[in-house]
């Protein structure tokens, strides 16, 4: 079965037809569409399918908040063709069996590559290493390891993990939060607003000291470290220095840290409670600049669905996290309208695929590449409605906002998963 994507402008430049046969791009240029399924992409921008380094799919354990299937749908609607599913499920993804189960659920859903992230430590407890090698050797081929939600705080454990994953080309994705400087109740950027609101502060320094330590550990071990959801200007400075030294460090930023600021917490609305917390405008500016100049390699959603009742607590008791898959591209376009489509493809597809070691993702739109393509209307805007979402949860900070550009079609392995902004299998 063949698919012709007609008239898309590749990375916003040359218009061309794309022929996808048996899941592979076989022709780029002018294509005779007769007898083939045709996707009209006139006026749309074609990008390689987006790749999310940081998604919480909640299955197993909290299937009331999200499942691999509903999260995959949200991902496809957002233009993604691969997501990395974080390990902080219940049970934790800290064995090969658990990783393979998530991977299989992803295959059954069949809408995106669901690549499990393995825990660094057993039960995310930060003490003993999880079975990193067995997860790597499993059918799920785990390459990214993270205790996300918690920091691998013990320097010795972090050092050993970095050393150990070198054997199979793994990478440790660190949730950088020194728990002695920002404990479990820390929920508001520490600054004037946290002082006024009387909320436990989460100071930027609690992230920065861990980023600084980890780049030194990466240098010492010769291993690769990835910094998850960078949120402060200070962390950016450390990353810039580390990259200049040639240290193997990569970093991601979330869409929300590129656009939302800490002052949204003034009304104590737990929708805006996220970890790391929303920061002041100076940090947002530094993160945008770092993404544009390559100091930060990737945008990753940290899509974190929560059941409504888990957000209807007092602010300090409410769950951390916000949705992000369906809105990621729109937020990036809104926050950084000056970013070229080539750059967008780099930070939302090529770099994340490279960091995660996903060989079939993030490839240039050229003959021989897998048919993972997203088609975007660059001039449209989308009014976000939290009720109109594929996710099972509604903790959507973008509700009621207008975001730039619109994901029109998503093609995953040559198969249309999203057509005209709706799931292709919905009918």
């Amino acid at each position: 079965m063949a698919l012709v994507i007609r008239g898309a402008s590749l990375l916003g430049e040359t218009p061309a037809d794309l022929l996808v046969e048996d899941g592979t791009l076989t022709r780029v240029g002018e294509v005779d569409a007769s007898g083939h399924e045709v996707l009209d992409a006139d006026g749309l921008v074609a990008l390689p399918g987006l790749v999310d380094l940081h998604t919480h799919l909640r299955e197993p354990g909290r299937e009331d908040a999200e499942t691999v299937l509903t999260g995959s749908r949200a991902a496809a609607l957002g233009g993604f063709t691969a997501v990395l599913a974080m390990a902080n499920t219940s049970p934790v993804t800290d064995t090969a069996e658990a990783a393979v189960r998530v991977w299989e659920l992803g295959r059954e859903a069949g809408l995106v590559d669901v690549q499990p992230v393995g825990a660094v430590t057993r039960g995310l407890a930060g003490e003993e290493l999880a079975e990193l090698g067995l997860m790597a050797r499993s059918r799920a081929r785990v390459r990214v390891f993270s205790d996300d939600g918690r920091c691998v705080h013990d320097a010795r454990v972090m050092r050993r993990a970095l050393e150990y994953v070198k054997a199979f080309g793994g990478v440790v994705s660190q949730h950088s939060q020194d728990p002695t400087l920002a404990g479990p109740s820390a929920c508001c950027h520490e600054g004037e607003l946290s002082g006024r609101l009387g909320l436990p502060g989460w100071p930027g320094i609690a992230e920065e000291v861990v980023v600084a330590r980890d780049v030194m550990l990466a240098r010492h071990t010769g291993s690769r470290v990835h910094v998850a959801h960078v949120s402060t200007a200070g962390s950016v400075e450390v990353l810039r220095w580390a990259k200049a030294q040639g240290i193997a460090v990569t970093a991601e930023v979330t869409p929300h840290h590129l656009l939302l600021t800490t002052d949204l917490l003034a009304g104590y609305d737990p929708t805006y409670k996220v970890n790391p917390p929303l920061r002041p405008a100076e940090d947002v500016e530094a993160l945008r600049a770092a993404l544009l100049d390559g100091t930060i390699d990737a945008v990753a959603t940290d899509h974190a669905p929560h059941a409504r009742h888990d957000k209807e607590h007092a602010f300090v008791d409410a769950a951390f996290g916000m949705l992000g898959l369906e809105t990621a591209l729109g937020v990036v376009r809104t926050a950084l309208p000056e970013m070229s489509w080539t750059q967008v493809a780099r930070v939302m597809s090529q770099n994340p695929a490279r960091i995660a070691g996903l060989e079939t993702q993030g490839r240039a739109l050229e003959v021989g590449s897998p048919g993972h393509v997203v088609l975007v209307d660059p001039d449209a805007t989308v009014a976000v409605d939290r009720a109109a979402s594929a996710s099972l949860s509604q903790n959507n900070p973008w509700h009621g906002r207008e975001l730039a550009s619109r994901v029109v079609h998503t093609v995953y392995g040559g198969r249309v998963t999203v057509r005209d902004g709706a799931l292709a299998d919905a009918g």
């Binding site: 002082g195 006024r196 008791d317």
Partner: protein
């Protein structure tokens, strides 16, 4: 006035109206029959998610002297730990038909959140380390009775500012009434971002209590919890007292007419010496009786206006 969540919600006129009514209520306390019919048929629930004796009894008596039906609900422990959301907890109570909901909760912002979920008038009786507006109102009311207008008067607030809702409400209330406020604490007990906050809000900060006291027209001592030592906020109770306690020696730095306030409960010997607490210029017990009058006034303004 629909709710009382923060001192910031009140205009100067509203504060003065509360004080005016409070003065009338104050007289009731000295009658043999201490009961007004103002809130007959109205139901006030004191919903306390953390321990409190004085604030709860003050609200309870205030409601009863206004003839409201007052019910106390103790719901200690976070609702999260019981598996029930805070929203469900308060909606359940309010479904019984509640006109006024007096909320004390260990989480900052909880009173505001509750007010968004329920129809009842909500009074913030202390939300975490955020605010305690009736405490600030009763403090200002007490000081006005002693000093007259607070315009241009210099009030020192001393102690654990980081963890104090009393400080946060007081700084709002006193600056609103034109007082000059200096807050005094060791750097570790100053709230985050206080430099920017104080500059914007027009109050002053100091680490040096001895330099501030001689110029004060009133001093408010805040409770210091001994468990703060384990958070490395200060080294020892002894060192705290030497630096920031209102000791017998420091009492001499105050003019004899300067009122000494403390929201209670007092740690005698830690932040306040017995000589200061029991001094002729101490306003501590007056604060308690003023508290009753101010809370009667607040309940009256929130609940008596509408038809029952």
């Amino acid at each position: 006035m629909r709710h009382l969540l923060s001192v910031d919600d009140l205009s100067v006129d509203q504060v003065e109206a509360i004080f005016e009514t409070a003065a009338e209520m104050h007289d009731v306390q000295h009658r043999d029959v201490k009961k007004l019919p103002a809130l007959r048929g109205r139901t006030v629930v004191n919903m306390f998610f953390e321990d409190s004796t004085r604030t709860r009894s003050s609200f309870e008596i205030a409601g009863k002297w206004l003839s409201a039906d007052v019910i106390n609900i103790s719901a200690k422990g976070s609702s999260a730990s019981k598996g029930e959301s805070l929203r469900d907890t308060v909606l359940t109570v309010c479904a019984m038909g509640v006109d006024g909901l007096v909320v004390r909760h260990p989480a900052s912002g909880s009173a505001r959140q509750v007010s968004e979920w329920v129809d009842a008038a909500v009074v913030n009786a202390g939300d975490g380390t955020h605010e305690h507006p009736t405490q600030a109102l009763l403090d200002a009311y007490t000081l006005q009775r002693r000093l007259g207008s607070l315009e241009g008067r210099h009030v020192a607030i001393v102690g654990d500012l980081t963890h104090s809702r009393v400080f946060r409400s007081n700084v709002l209330c006193l600056t609103k009434l034109g007082a000059r406020v200096t807050v005094v604490a060791p750097p570790t007990l100053m709230p985050a971002g206080v430099a920017a906050w104080s500059a914007a809000a027009g109050f002053e900060t100091s680490y040096d209590l001895d330099a501030v006291l001689p110029h004060a027209d009133a001093v408010m001592m805040l409770r210091v919890q001994r468990e703060r030592m384990s958070g490395a906020f200060f080294p020892s109770a002894r060192e705290y007292t030497v630096g920031y306690g209102l000791t017998r020696d420091r009492l001499r730095l105050l003019r004899p007419d300067v009122p000494i306030c403390h929201p209670g409960p007092m740690n005698r010997g830690l932040e306040i010496a017995a000589d200061a607490a029991d001094a002729a210029q101490s306003a501590v017990l007056e604060q308690v009786s003023s508290g009753l009058a101010v809370r009667m006034s607040v309940l009256y303004h929130l609940l008596a206006g509408e038809e029952a």
